[in-house]
């Protein structure tokens, strides 16, 4: 019974949906204010969602209906599942075992795969190009992201997020050495969330809506919700690995601190997307492989050295 509550209400589906929409609102409002616009009212993400859900579902005649329908659901479930392994407040995640870091990263890859499959099975030309771009982009940002998160894990000597959080809470000095990794993973996260400058798979001026060109109504609503939650989970992951402060606080304060951390990451992402222009896919690949990946290696080396020569 408790498991069902976890899954559906807190910290599962309902909590994440509300949090995701709140984060989307913050993102959009901040983006608008930075662009000198008024921006949406606070209920806009919810209104958008309700509007989309109440609309008719249109599936292209040539599309594979079951694949077309299942993809948004898959994206949503994968992101929600990933959240259970992230220590949101306190040291311990809801579920935790040695190796959950890998599982979280794997679960966070699934949405991109569903974008690809959803786009591919829509059979529209724009969707297909968007789908191929999404997959191409995956190969570019995934490696730096993985390496930059791997480095702190190496230093903490554990594959469990809860263990990593505990380690850094006990040795706060080491946090400072992971700042480079934090920056790298932040940029990679922009790619994962397909936001400017990495919104190449859905570049509207080139390929209309990219992957989501053919999606509408409930399915698009689910996809959008999935992306919102992915943003939360991704930010929470970064917060857990790179910002391990105040983990010993009492539940309510700890929870508020967690929300603050996630919002901090989200706001940084919005600022980043305000100040950049969209890159081309070849430029994005070059940037990820030639700049981000080597930098992630540097981070890896820093942590390896720290492991051999402890600070104390």
């Amino acid at each position: 019974m408790m498991g069902l509550f976890y899954m559906l209400v807190f910290p599962g589906f309902i909590f994440l949906s509300v949090f995701g929409m709140a984060a989307e609102y913050c993102d959009r409002k901040l983006y608008a204010r930075l662009q000198n616009r008024v921006g949406p009212p606070w209920f806009q993400p919810l209104a958008d969602f309700i509007k989309l859900v109440s609309k008719e579902e249109i599936i292209p005649e040539e599309a594979n209906p079951s694949m077309f329908k299942i993809m948004p659901v898959l994206a949503l479930t994968a992101t929600i599942t990933a959240f259970f392994y992230i220590p949101a407040w306190g040291y311990k995640a809801l579920y935790s075992f040695n190796g959950d870091l890998i599982v979280v990263l794997y679960l966070l890859t699934i949405p991109t795969l569903t974008f690809f499959l959803g786009g591919w099975y829509s059979t529209s030309l724009y969707s297909k190009i968007g789908a191929v771009r999404a997959l191409t982009q995956l190969f570019a940002y995934e490696v730096p992201l993985l390496m930059s998160i791997l480095a702190p894990a190496l230093l903490a000597n554990s594959w469990s997020l809860s263990e990593i959080a505990k380690f850094y809470a006990q040795h706060p000095v080491y946090w400072f050495f992971n700042l480079l990794g934090f920056a790298i993973s932040m940029i990679s996260l922009l790619g994962k969330l397909e936001k400017v400058p990495f919104d190449i798979p859905e570049a509207e001026t080139e390929i209309v809506g990219g992957t989501f060109t053919e999606y509408g109504g409930k399915l698009l609503g689910l996809f959008r919700l999935g992306i919102d939650i992915e943003a939360i989970v991704g930010s929470a992951l970064l917060a857990a690995v790179f910002l391990p402060f105040g983990l010993g606080l009492p539940p309510v304060a700890g929870f508020l601190l967690f929300v603050l951390k996630v919002m901090g990451v989200i706001c940084t992402l919005s600022i980043l997307r305000t100040i950049f222009a969209r890159l081309r896919i070849d430029q994005m690949m070059a940037f990820c492989w030639k700049v981000l990946a080597p930098l992630a290696f540097v981070q890896l080396f820093i942590d390896l050295i720290l492991k051999w020569i402890p600070l104390k």
Binding site: L34, Q35, Y126, R133, V196, P197, A277, R278
Partner: protein, 407 residues
């Protein structure tokens, strides 16, 4: 690799006006590009032949929403040349003033659109906010934000007061400061430069061969500007530089347009300072003597050309319009050779296309073979009135009331 042909348009988010392009892709690379123009064809040249000269001034103004002043000035210049009218100096200055204000609003608009095409929406929001400054000035001077309606054969219809001149100068200071900031953004912002430089290359030789005009040509090092080469209005009396650039790419076109913005501010300052006193319009007979004239005008997008032939009546025998985009659109295929799909929107946008200028002429749609569905225009008119009557919208009473009130 597998080849796909994707349609861009007639309706597409990257195009603000309907026009159809077809792009053959191999992966992300563009193999072939072809354009089908004509979607905005409205028959203006033919319509001009059936209207009087005064009506045509307003009709040519509606060839394009952005460079409306360009077309009407170009047309009135041709007619004035045939009729051998001496246009008052002050009128020429006011035409130049509005023309330059139009260039400012057009270039700022372009900068925003370019930002949007490369996914840099912040630039769009900022430039369009500043564009409001010049739009307000235009509204103050002419009464309209677009389609100013200030030109008339023989002069202009509205004078510029001293307070208005002061407001213009103040706006120029604001805009100059903002433009300098945008130049800084464009020359220093890395992602923007990456998306613009090296994209849409048009060599100097190709620009000459394909007959490119305006900023597109000047960014390929073609030193050509009608304002200097074939001065009209008050351009022979003001000092300005013709901005050229040898980057040959979209980045160069951006720099040229921003440089021209700064030049426009300086031209406007000179115009306001030097503007002579006097009448703003002379009387021109309704019937224009037979003759012909070719008129050129440097519109924001490049050289605009009108040819007018008069036959001694009140209606022109022939009006020919060649809008700048028609000359530039042919360079796009060259610019897109071996480029990426992602470059397509910005390359097309970089010539600042204006398809309603380009496709200005079409006849009326011919009736099909389905006789049953054919309605005469009057029948359609009656049909629409009865249709709305049945749906509760009836103007009969209102018409009667209005008629009574008039008596």
């Amino acid at each position: 690799m597998h080849k796909v042909v994707i349609p861009i348009g007639p309706q597409h988010p990257a195009l603000k006006e309907p026009e159809s392009f077809s792009v053959t892709l191999s992966g992300e690379k563009i193999m072939k590009f072809s354009a089908r123009l004509g979607y905005n064809h409205r028959g203006i040249e033919k319509a001009c032949e059936e209207r009087t000269y005064v009506q045509d001034v307003y009709l040519t103004e509606r060839i394009c929403g952005i460079c409306s002043h360009s077309h009407s000035t170009c047309f009135t210049q041709a007619v004035e040349e045939i009729a051998k009218v001496d246009v008052p100096k002050r009128a020429l200055y006011i035409r130049t003033l509005v023309g330059e204000l139009e260039r400012i609003h057009s270039h700022l608009l372009w900068l925003g659109v370019a930002g949007h095409e490369v996914g840099f929406d912040t630039l769009l929001m900022y430039t369009w906010r500043d564009r409001e400054v010049v739009m307000d000035i235009l509204a103050m001077l002419t009464g309209n934000r677009v389609n100013y309606g200030i030109n008339m054969i023989g002069g202009v219809r509205r004078d510029v007061s001293a307070e208005q001149a002061k407001a213009i100068l103040k706006a120029m200071d604001t805009l100059e400061e903002r433009t300098k900031y945008y130049i800084q953004v464009a020359t220093q912002e890395t992602t923007l430069i990456q998306r613009l430089s090296g994209v849409g290359i048009l060599s100097h030789k190709d620009a000459l061969k394909l007959g490119a005009v305006g900023p597109t040509a000047r960014a390929s090092g073609v030193n050509r500007d009608v304002r200097r080469d074939d001065p009209y209005a008050a351009y022979s009396e003001v000092k300005f530089k013709v901005i050229t650039d040898d980057h040959n790419d979209v980045y160069g076109r951006t720099l040229v347009r921003m440089g021209e913005l700064l030049e426009s501010y300086s031209i406007i300052r000179q115009i306001v300072k030097k503007m002579p006193e006097g009448p703003i319009i002379t009387k021109v007979p309704r019937k224009i003597p037979a003759g012909e004239a070719t008129s050129r005008y440097e519109a924001p997008r490049g050289e605009d050309m009108h040819y007018v032939k008069a036959n001694g009546t009140e209606k022109p025998e022939r009006v020919k319009v060649r809008a700048p985009t028609l000359a530039n659109i042919q360079t796009v295929a060259k610019m897109l050779e071996d480029r990426q799909l992602a470059d397509l929107p910005i390359v097309i946008a970089a010539i600042d296309p204006c398809f309603s200028c380009t496709d200005r002429l079409t006849g009326i749609r011919q009736t099909g073979k389905r006789k049953k569905n054919v309605l005469k225009w009057e029948e359609l008119h009656t049909y629409s009135i009865t249709f709305y009557k049945e749906h509760g919208i009836d103007f009969t009473d209102l018409n009667k009331k209005m008629a009574k009130a008039l008596k």
